[in-house]
Symmetry: C2
Subunit: 713 residues, 2 copies
């Protein structure tokens, strides 16, 4: 790509960013949009006085919200948004630190060195048409001693990243412990999920669980609730819910018609009454069905149960020590938060779940590899000459400078983005089939899949496309990997810069604008009477945001010494991300679940992967540039990095899987003096009942049959 | 190798075997050799009447001992020899089952098919000079449909081995549980080793451990003993011990001289008295040193301690739940049996031990790869033509048929055997540096190293020697591995048959003969007065025997369809092994330590490795034999085998690392009704004191200064 094409792309995207920012700054000042731009605020202080008066200030864009977003300290974030939000923000801070360091070295040392090379002979007078390659390592002369500067930069940068990773891991893990100490007792801290309960013939799951835990955990066992197969009831309840809503709407209309049009339009009115009767009959039928299904559930237990204990230590003991003689029976697992439980989880046998897991691995692998086909086609669009050969009739249009610049600089990444939007739901589906018991685990697993998907389909496919179908063979000849990567990676710098600008800057700022939410709110306000409070607080699943953030990190780390031009663009992205997420967090989104920062290890691992990838490319590059000594001297670097990673795994990772004895006992002792504990135990007893079975107790209440089902929603 | 050469080798070795068997049958009947051939019996029933009368029967070889050895049932073995002995015997039974099955298919189906092929054109009339290759798969015509028989055999055999593995794993793990149920309380079941104790400045390890466990395990903590650095004292004590022995010998001589020669030889007598005084002075000095070292130890605690609990469950809780906030502090580990503790273990910090582990990995890897050099030279000896080129003066001798047959059939494996004998001690040294805390763990780790060593240096180096230094490159091109193995493996069948015969048959039977022990006993009887009871019961470390047994399994499995001729030789080896080990176990050896059958997983894993290797070779062979369809259809087999292995890991392996809640609680409850428990707790308190520190309490006793040091031995 030439410089002018890149500048066009950057210009378009910068313009869009400013547009979104300005629109946001104006629109957020309109009180009617408050539910869209600050639903958290709305839900927190519903009594807040609305300033509906018109004034000019409301139409002027003001950047005050940026200051507002950055104001709260880490501890304030922790108390209002939970630990995950803090970790999420720390990721941006970490990336900003890394790329500020990289940027200083890259722009002030490496870029001038690259530019002063003579390997690529271009016409210096024609700067706008100059290829971006002249800023990259490709322009350094082969065998030049200046490459030792790059060599040193790789070592220094790796050391700096490792130091920052260590510092961040330590910081987050110590914060995690203090968050645990300061937290109120939560049901999931006292509960485990037991699967593979070996029920003897004639016995029930209920009895088996009770007798087992009363026998082997007599002093700590508290209560349990057996899991049941409620898919059918869930379906019926959701149907009933829809019907109830429609019924409520019709009743409302009937009332208003009664009030305003006491006479006339009798025909229409009569038809509505008929419809109401019909719906009420249908709803009754549905409710009868639900009741029937519930009563027939009695014998349909799944051999799985949530078992609660009197103390956190009791739960930890049951969790960490194998329970039964047969290791595939009595499999224990930390219970998720009650609202985090993924109820339709597969409670199948050990073998079945294992086979499902394998099948999902194969399916994900296939998806990741087969996705290649559309990507390769999209990739073809960046090569104008290929496009002209395939579609000769386009030659006229393509000769226009602007069109060709749009096609090469903007269109490919946009189409890719469209394709990519179909992948996350599929990955979530895969992860939910795998047998995870909580939404957060499903999200985490999908996040991992998405990360590998992104790395393969965006990074490797683009980098290797020059060598076409050679890719599969490559992984059977590991020796050639550095060379092939070194040949492919530097050439794609401009593509990735464009990608950062489009997928990073623009899509991030458009998220700020919240267009779809705005349109939805506008439409619903047109058709509905009391839409003011209808807008719910949208939830955010951190994990779905991680792959992109981390992928940009990979780009930054691998291109750091190849083409430092990408670094300022990344810095802008992380700055934007920091501001925008601090703002959609404080005002808009509510966290969907709290994992206690369990996605930090994902970020850590992918950073290590990026470093290793950079080292492999460096080995290849120094080889290509005829400096074999530097190539050999780089080999210890990935080994040292892997050792560092191994050390971090041992030093910090255990803190992210479970809390140690010291913490558990301390918290348990605190509880002993807490007068609210008896209330908590009452809550704990019913915390893990399936929502589909919850409202049975209301069904005999006298105030009509619809209310219990509404409660269940 | 030609048939006659192989027959020569087999003949020599069979002769040696018979010689050893006969010698053993005669020598074991001599009462004076009882201490050599049945020290276990001697130690068990010392009062047994000795039948010193001479009769002719004593000189006739009788095979009665074979019947005697096979008589005891598995439960009898379990009660007299422990669980490891049972598992060790089960390994032989497993191998016998596998190779009986393989033998039936191999000899009655595959061998005739191979022999009827025409790929290798030999003169049929000259059977003795016929190459062994005509019995191997190499003789089957390329592209012949008969190869499908081999294909089916590979599938059927894999299924059979997997079934047998599953059956055996299940059998052994259920036996392990019942052995645990029937066992008496043992100190190691109640104890854990804690390392990385974070001592605050000013505090002592002793106080830190006590306060921590009293704080966090108030109801289960029993006692602890801090580990100290006693290498120096151990050295001093062993010096003192040697001196004491010499002194005792001199005193004995003095007494007898006093008795028999009350007068005369005064000069000599006087000199002896001088020497006695000198030694006694030296011993006193040594003892003072020991006392000084011991008193100066007070402050030299290592931040590690054995912590005992009141119940097995208490120990399991402390073991399985992370203790401290920092995961590298308070690292817990199952304590070994007190006599299994490897006292000079490295109690260094977490980081140091981790670095040592890494260094040992590198060193072992280097040893395994560099050992190649002597092996390649030895390998050269099997090629007569090369030998003639290097040493032209040998040409005359080499032309003798007998000499050439000895050189090609016998000598190479003998020299190899010599080289190999230096390796196990090195591997044990490596494993002990790694930081294991027990002799059994050291032995297990050394066993694993030896297994990889054997596989690489005996199997792969022999198979790949044709392709010389190409080997390292091979592992960077995984795609070529099947082809290269398929080219190299079948040609080495005869070498491995010779190897089985020499290293298997002969060395196994020579162990029966116990030549070195016999010579030692003979010499010591010549020079000593009361040598009758001096001969100690030798100990056996199972792990050192495993690599050979398992390596032969690898040979059998990989050659099963390539050259079934090896199978009968292996069957004979396993039969011999079964008889001989049952015998040297019942009569000679005492187990060095009891691991509860923890070496079965090693056997399982290496069997799976052998199967996968066989599949890879099969893929290569079918490719070479121009039957690509069979080659592709074999690919699912290694995948299925790995899945089977993964299933076994989940289903059985956890039983081999720790006992579940169910077992622990049951055993603990049994103990509550056991009146001998108070006695056991008394023993437990001092069970894990360093032997170097044990006899301090005796030092003030009145009966002289020598006795405490003797006690310590």
């Amino acid at each position: 790509m030439i410089l002018s094409a890149l500048l066009t792309s950057v210009g378009i995207n910068l313009g869009l960013c400013f547009l979104f920012f300005t629109l946001y700054s104006i629109l957020r000042n309109q009180p009617s949009n408050l539910a869209v731009y600050a639903p958290r605020l709305v839900s927190r202080q519903k009594s807040r006085r609305r300033n509906d008066e018109f004034n000019l200030e409301r139409l002027l864009p003001s950047p005050g919200w940026v200051r507002q977003a950055c104001a709260p300290s880490e501890d304030e974030l922790l108390s209002t948004l939970g630990f995950d939000a803090v970790v999420f923000m720390r990721i941006f801070i970490f990336c900003l630190k890394v790329f500020t360091f990289a940027g200083i070295i890259g722009i002030f040392i490496l870029l001038p060195v690259n530019y002063l090379g003579n390997q690529l002979s271009y016409d210096f007078s024609d700067l706008p048409n100059k290829s971006l390659d002249s800023f990259s390592i490709s322009n350094v002369d082969n065998g030049s001693n200046r490459l030792w500067i790059h060599f040193c930069a790789v070592y220094v940068f790796t050391a700096a990243v490792c130091y920052l990773l260590y510092y961040e891991y330590r910081h987050i893990s110590s914060k995690r412990v203090s968050y645990f100490y300061s937290s109120k007792p939560k049901p999931h801290q006292f509960t485990i999920l037991v699967r593979g309960i070996p029920v003897s013939s004639g016995g029930s799951v209920n009895e088996t669980v009770e007798s087992f835990f009363k026998e082997y955990h007599p002093s700590t066992y508290f209560s349990h609730s057996v899991v049941r197969r409620t898919n059918k009831i869930q379906k019926l309840i959701s149907d009933a819910e829809k019907l109830y809503r429609r019924l409520a709407f019709l009743k409302l209309e009937k009332d208003s018609q009664k009030r305003f049009r006491r006479d006339g339009f009798l025909g229409l009115f009569g038809r509505k009454v008929d419809l109401l009767d019909h719906y009420e009959k249908k709803l009754e039928d549905l409710q009868d069905n639900v009741r029937m299904e519930r009563s027939s559930l009695a014998g349909k237990d799944i051999p799985a149960a949530f078992v609660s204990f009197k103390s956190r230590l009791g739960a930890a003991v049951a969790l960490n020590i194998k329970q039964g003689v047969n290791p595939t029976d009595w499999i224990t697992e930390q219970a998720p938060d009650p609202q985090d439980v993924y109820w339709p989880f597969f409670s199948a046998s050990f073998m079945k779940r294992w086979i499902f897991k394998l099948l999902v691995y194969v399916a994900s692998f296939a998806l990741i590899v087969l996705f290649l086909v559309p990507v390769v086609i999209v990739q073809g669009l960046t090569h104008l000459d290929q496009l002209e050969t395939w579609f000769p009739f386009l030659r006229g249009i393509l000769s226009l400078t602007f069109i060709s610049q749009v096609i090469t600089g903007y269109l490919p990444s946009l189409i890719l983005q469209l394709f990519l939007s179909f992948v996350p739901p599929v990955m979530i589906l895969f992860s939910s089939i795998e047998g995870y018991i909580s939404l957060s685990q499903v999200a985490k697993s999908a996040c991992n899949k998405m990360w590998w998907f992104t790395v393969w389909n965006i990074f490797f496919v683009n980098v290797l496309s020059g060598t076409a179908l050679y890719q599969v063979n490559l992984f059977l000849q590991p020796k050639k990997i550095p060379q092939v990567l070194a040949e492919g990676v530097p050439a794609q710098a401009s593509f990735f810069i464009a990608y950062v600008v489009t997928s990073g800057w623009t899509s991030l700022s458009s998220e700020l604008f919240r267009l779809t939410a705005l349109i939805y709110s506008f439409i619903s306000r047109l058709f509905s009477h009391n839409s003011g409070n209808e807008f719910e607080v949208p939830s955010i699943a951190w994990h779905s945001e991680i792959p992109r953030i981390v992928f940009f990190e990979l780009l930054g780390i691998t291109y750091f010494f190849l083409d430092p031009l990408i670094l300022p663009f990344l810095l802008v992205f992380y700055c934007l991300g920091y501001i925008i997420y601090r703002n959609q967090l404080l005002n808009v989104y509510a966290p969907k679940f709290e994992t206690g920062g369990k996605f930090w290890p994902i970020v850590h691992n992918s950073t290590i992967f990026s470093l290793i990838l950079m080292h492999i490319i460096a080995i290849g590059i120094f080889g290509l540039k005829k400096l074999p000594l530097a190539s050999s001297l780089t080999i210890p670097l990935p080994v040292l990095t892997l050792l560092f990673n191994e050390y971090c795994r041992k030093r910090f990772l255990p803190m992210f899987t479970a809390f140690p004895m010291e913490c558990l006992v301390k918290k348990d002792r605190e509880d002993q003096n807490d007068p609210t504990m008896s209330e908590f135990y009452n809550k704990l007893e019913n915390a893990y009942r399936d929502p589909a079975l919850m409202p049975v107790q209301y069904s005999s209440s006298t105030d009509g049959r619809n209310s219990p089902l509404l409660h269940s929603v």
